[in-house]
């Protein structure tokens, strides 16, 4: 049984996540500052070749976390499938990355390091933060124009594991070896560019650094031993399915807060499912054969046309929690896809409208005018007012 991750599996209220998020953020900010990333001149040195600190820190961090994940998932401590992986949108990532890189060299910071810069009393960092806020708002304002680019070439969650058909542990070891080779090149390049500008080369490949990188390589190679362990180790006992009910509003809320925190399965049959389904839902016929491979620490929500009485036999192979959507797809379309009734209370109306807009992508209209009974205010005779 996987114990981790603690959050993201729907077992704990999301608000509890704020405390670890704060602590992890603290560690992140602390290490970034110790790396020198609270100072624009240290960050931009990367792009002039004489000090590739940014590249070294970033790549070592990626390799360290990757090997950690490989070991934890290989040992069965963490469920790799329950960790959120950003979806791939080829054009948005290509264009967004390039523009962010230009912004990086112009401002001297990236969004995260600008916060560390500000925290170290670097006022250009604060101005960069202001720019990031303005740029984000600008994106929202121009969204209708950039939407085609934002959504083009959507590949869903796509990892190099999926692409190459190799286990995570193998790729982690390959990336670790590749990174160390690149570090050796980076050290040489620094020497070259430093000599050209008559600077002292950083020479960061100290015995301690060599020891750390050597340990990483050893751990990466050792983690490939987990390949001998079959991936599906906890499929032994199969408890009976307990089905809990969930209504459309609660489902919509969970999907918005954490789209990948639950798995949705459409039971209405292949044609109906292909034509129209709840976002992120799988059609049952597509996944029927692999139900046992679904991560058991994320709840599975199933729905039919209206109420579903008989659940398919295959579901009993799923070892996690199963929910049934009350009223099925019909209830979903009534509560979420249909425009809400303006006669609802303003707070309800606004919430329903936001949910409706989130799932349909339709621009929202202004909130309905609140009709208040006209009350004629009489001036208080006792005085004391400000009039």
């Amino acid at each position: 049984m996987n114990l981790l991750p603690i959050f993201g599996t729907g077992q704990f209220p999301l608000a509890l996540e704020f405390i670890p998020a704060l602590i992890i953020g603290f560690g992140f900010g602390f290490v970034l500052e110790r790396s020198g990333f609270g100072r624009a001149s240290v960050l931009v040195a990367q792009f002039y070749g004489h000090d590739m600190r940014v590249f070294k820190v970033m790549f070592t961090a990626i390799v360290t976390a990757m090997i950690g994940v490989a070991i934890a998932s290989g040992a069965g401590v963490v469920d790799l499938k329950a960790i959120y992986v950003p979806e791939t949108f080829l054009f948005a990532h290509l264009v967004g990355g390039f523009v962010l890189g230009v912004g990086f060299i112009v401002s001297g910071y990236c969004p995260g390091t600008s916060i560390v810069g500000f925290a170290s009393s670097k006022w250009d960092g604060l101005v960069t933060i202001a720019g990031v806020v303005v740029g984000s708002v600008l994106f929202g304002e121009l969204y209708p124009l950039v939407k085609p680019l934002y959504l083009a070439q959507a590949k869903g969650v796509l990892t190099f594991s999926d692409l190459l058909g190799l286990r995570f542990e193998v790729l982690a070891a390959a990336v670790a070896l590749f990174a160390v080779a690149l570090f050796a090149i980076a050290e040489k390049a620094e020497g070259y560019f430093s000599r050209r500008r008559a600077l002292e080369a950083p020479n960061t490949m100290t015995p301690v650094a060599k020891g750390a990188l050597g340990t990483l390589i050893a751990l990466a190679l050792a983690s490939t031993a987990f390949l001998l362990v079959p991936q599906d180790s906890d499929a032994g006992r199969r408890p009976k399915v307990h089905v809990t009910r969930i209504d459309a509003a609660a489902l919509a809320k969970r999907l918005i807060e954490r789209p990948r925190g639950i798995m949705l399965v459409d039971l209405r049959g292949p044609e109906a499912c292909k034509a129209k389904r709840i976002p992120l839902a799988y059609c049952f016929d597509q996944i029927a054969a692999q139900i046992e491979n679904l991560p058991s620490n994320r709840p599975l929500v199933v729905y039919g046309h209206s109420g579903t009485k008989h659940l398919p036999k295959q579901l009993s192979r799923f070892t996690g929690k199963v929910y049934r959507l009350d009223g099925g797809y019909q209830s979903w379309s009534e509560h979420v896809l249909r425009k809400p009734d303006p006669k609802l209370s303003p707070a309800d109306y606004r919430l329903r409208l936001a949910v409706h807009s989130h799932f349909t992508g339709q621009t929202m209209q202004r909130p309905a005018p609140v009709v208040r009974p006209t009350v004629i205010r009489r001036k208080s005779k006792k005085g004391g007012g400000c009039l």
Partner: protein, 173 residues
């Protein structure tokens, strides 16, 4: 704060291991990586909401921040950024690096430097929304999980930086 003598930075490889362990903690505890630019976006929407509520609620992109029914700033991303600020503050004070300053090369004035910081920030804010994350959320977090899009993003960031570096050299050297 200037009483503390400036201490040397960590060796980048050791700092990288430490940063990787923080990222690993995020994966194992939170079930997702680190995020920095999301909070700025939420702050922007919060400020806009103060100016014109109906305008923000009518926006196709911003509506998602209200859809869950909670306050715009009530999100783990905001707490993480408060943590990043706190960590940066403590480390810079202890390291003797917390000095009020505008970082720039000797050949540009303060005005130009701040205009560049603002423009670069605007580009990054826009780009981070387009790419659904920045160097923290995409390059580091998605990169460590071997997401194809995150690696494309990361290579594109370096490409963008190197492409323009020669043009803005004056600002730094």
């Amino acid at each position: 704060m200037s009483q503390i003598k400036e201490k040397p930075l960590w060796n980048p490889y050791i700092a990288g291991v430490a940063l990787g362990l923080v990222l690993l903690a995020a994966f194992l505890v939170l079930g997702h990586g680190i995020g920095a630019s999301g909070a700025s976006s939420r702050l922007g929407v919060f400020l806009m909401n103060g100016v014109s509520e109906s305008h923000v609620h009518a926006s196709q992109y911003f509506a998602r921040y209200f859809a869950a029914g909670s306050h715009v700033l009530n999100d783990w991303l905001v707490f993480m950024v408060i943590g990043i600020f706190g960590g940066g503050l403590v480390s810079s004070v202890l390291g003797g690096r917390n000095k009020s300053e505008i970082v720039k090369g000797p050949r540009v004035g303060v005005g130009w430097r701040l205009i560049a910081a603002l423009s670069g920030g605007i580009l990054m804010g826009f780009a981070a929304r387009l790419a659904r994350g920045c160097t923290s959320g995409q390059a580091l977090s998605g990169g460590a999980l071997l997401s194809v899009g995150s690696w494309i993003f990361m290579l594109a960031v370096f490409a963008g930086g190197y492409a323009v570096a020669a043009l803005v050299r004056r600002q730094w050297q």
